[in-house]
């Protein structure tokens, strides 16, 4: 029983990381009907940047958590302004080519800078070791990831539901043209949301690095997971990304002890079932 409790707790932590990758992809799609195939590459970039800051510069893990989001936010805004905004009016195949090409460029860039071999990122000192309740022991770092991402999710929820930017985002995803007609600068909203989504994916990479290591192909893996999460949860939906992420994380973790061969394949089977039963995802409209 303890084993399954442990796996469910692991699953919640991993699921929250999946949520962080997927939520940006989902909200950007809701706003622009634009899917960024380079989104996974930013997950990878986040992990590499965290490694560089905490290991190569030896500034420590906390500095990495502080540095990664703003740096990737600015990088994303730069890319949006110079390249991606020209893609919004293009047919979807051209958008995919553009962003997929970008993902290849970023992946190769990572290999040029950091090499193809996986890098090990140590768990920060204060979070090494385990906590113990009676007979139940649990790694401190995983507990931290769950708590930290839960606070972050609450903040994001408040940002979307309780602030002016949030109401602009929600209005934009319902009636984008109407907002533009009313005189709002929708392009600016897109820009900030894009930057935020990318920064969250990168932060997810930074948090995942001590758990899974850092390697150049984690971007494509992250992209695949993010797609599964948004298909399960529903494109464009914030609660959908949360529920989808948790479901995928918990399923994977529990099966990794119960039936290890199916731990990875099962999430795609789950996605197939949801596509048949609820084509727009668990929380999707339509």
């Amino acid at each position: 029983m303890n084993l399954y409790l442990l796996q469910i707790m692991n699953g919640v932590g991993i699921g929250m990381l999946y949520f962080l990758i997927a939520v940006g992809l989902s909200v950007i799609f809701g706003l622009l009907r634009f899917v960024n195939f380079a989104h996974g590459a930013f997950f990878m970039m986040g992990a590499y940047l965290a490694y560089t800051v905490s290991v190569s510069f030896n500034w420590g893990f906390w500095a990495a958590l502080l540095v990664v989001p703003p740096v990737t936010f600015l990088l994303a805004i730069l890319l949006e302004q110079t390249l991606l905004r020209h893609a919004y009016h293009l047919p979807h195949t051209a958008q995919i080519l553009l962003t997929f090409g970008l993902s290849m460029v970023l992946q190769e860039l990572a290999i040029v800078i950091w090499g193809t071999d996986g890098l090990h990122m140590p768990t920060p000192g204060a979070l090494a070791g385990v906590v113990q309740w009676g007979s139940f022991i649990y790694p401190k770092y995983r507990l931290f990831v769950t708590g930290f991402t839960a606070v972050l999710a609450a903040l994001l929820w408040w940002l979307l539901e309780g602030t002016r930017l949030g109401s602009l985002v929600r209005a934009g995803s319902e009636y984008g043209d109407m907002m533009a007609l009313l005189g709002y600068d929708t392009r600016k909203v897109f820009m900030y949301v894009f930057g935020l989504g990318v920064a969250l994916a990168a932060l997810s990479g930074a948090l995942a690095a001590p758990l899974r290591g850092v390697e150049p192909f984690m971007g494509l893996t992250g992209l695949g997971i993010a797609f599964v999460v948004v298909v399960i949860g529903g494109m464009g939906s914030f609660p959908g990304a949360l529920i989808g992420g948790l479901l995928v994380g918990i399923l994977q973790s529990v099966l990794s002890s119960a039936w290890p061969e199916m731990a990875q394949p099962v999430i795609y089977i789950c996605m197939a079932v949801i596509l048949i039963a609820r084509p727009h995802g668990l929380m999707g409209r339509g």
């Binding site: 799609f29 009907r33 634009f34 899917v35 390249l83 020209h86 893609a87 293009l90 047919p91 979807h92 195949t93 051209a94 958008q95 995919i96 080519l97 553009l98 962003t99 997929f100 090409g101 970008l102 993902s103 290849m104 460029v105 992946q107 190769e108 860039l109 290999i111 040029v112 494509l220 992209l223 695949g224 797609f227 599964v228 948004v230 298909v231 494109m235 290890p260 061969e261 199916m262 731990a263 990875q264 394949p265 795609y268 089977i269 996605m271 197939a272 596509l275 048949i276 084509p279």
Partner: protein
């Protein structure tokens, strides 16, 4: 015969002759049969991808899964069952078709970018199955010692395929047959319907076509050819490994298709460009796939309606400018 018809027959003859001539020239132009082999094997996979992307308008990131399943199918029949070459290839093509039907069945429930995401996600299902069931696939090490038996039916031996030249001849003939078959398909009423779906899916549906069945059939054809290519590659290299089924493979096949413009003739040109570029650049610049990334970005930005359409309009523009200068002179 009137003039128009003669001209059309002439064009058709040139079209039909160009491909065999290209296939004969290919090993002479390239440094060796090994590279020529790579090109024609990929060209078969790209034909399958062009049928989906170029003609039906379905951009699939699942091609790597069909290719990899074809390689494993060929490997299983070749090693465990000791099958003949046709049996190995047919097994590969059959598994390619099956996996394409699975990816297609779920993905065509959505359209546009959502569809593309689904093909990518379902392709990962096959990767992780191959990765997790090591007993069947050899996991990271892959399946080794896949044979390349001579081409024979029963006791009749037609061709020994040990030498690269013989295997190239065999693959080139298979590619030519596949090319003619796909050409026939796209010129048939079936193919016209696929093009109608690409151009305007709602209208194609409204005039009474079972759009879903047509899309699924396109996936099946595509999976058959891609699986066949994967099987040929496995028999050619003697191994089937995870690199044949991962997203990188899907990405490679799709990039070749797009560089070839999604056309049938481009099915040979795309892989040729890609493989020549890679062998030329890989010694001086190991990270050459970055260049492919930049090429894809440029095609997306400047030729959003496909490479040929982009080149054609650029040419028109250039000719207009040339013409204007001519007039002003």
């Amino acid at each position: 015969m009137d003039r128009q018809a003669t001209k059309q027959a002439g064009i058709r003859a040139v079209e039909l002759l160009a491909m065999p001539i290209a296939l004969i020239l290919l090993p002479m132009v390239l440094p060796g049969y090994l590279q020529a082999n790579e090109v024609v094997i990929y060209a078969i996979a790209v034909l399958g991808s062009a049928l989906l992307f170029g003609y039906t308008g379905l951009m699939s990131f699942g091609q790597g899964a069909f290719y990899g399943m074809g390689a494993y199918g060929c490997g299983w029949v070749g090693t465990a069952l000791g099958g003949s070459l046709p049996e190995m290839l047919l097994a590969g093509a059959a598994l390619g078709t099956l996996s394409a039907l699975i990816v297609g069945y779920f993905s065509i429930r959505q359209r546009g970018v959502y569809f593309v995401m689904l093909t990518l996600a379902f392709a990962q299902l096959f990767y992780f199955l191959a990765y997790s069931f090591r007993g069947l696939t050899g996991g990271d090490n892959g399946m080794t010692d896949i044979p390349r038996p001579p081409l024979s039916i029963g006791n009749l031996r037609f061709l020994n395929l040990d030498s690269p030249a013989a295997f190239y001849t065999f693959c080139a003939i298979l590619f030519l047959l596949a090319y003619l078959a796909v050409r026939r398909i796209v010129q048939s009423p079936f193919g016209t319907t696929l093009i109608a779906i690409r151009e305007n899916e709602n209208r194609a549906r409204a005039i009474g076509n079972e759009v879903m069945l047509f899309k699924l059939a396109a996936f099946a054809f595509s999976g058959f050819l891609t699986g066949l290519a994967g099987a040929l590659h496995a028999s050619f290299l003697g191994i089937a490994s995870l690199t044949g089924i991962d997203l990188d493979m899907s990405q490679t096949i799709l990039a070749m298709t797009i560089i070839g413009g999604g056309t049938l003739g481009g099915s040979l040109a795309g892989p040729l460009f890609y493989i020549v570029l890679s062998s030329w650049l890989s010694t001086i610049w190991p990270r050459w796939p970055m260049l492919i990334g930049f090429i894809l970005i440029a095609i997306g930005l400047y030729c959003p309606d496909g490479l040929w359409e982009g080149l054609r309009s650029a040419l028109r523009k250039a000719m207009r400018m040339g013409g204007a200068r001519h007039v002003s002179n």
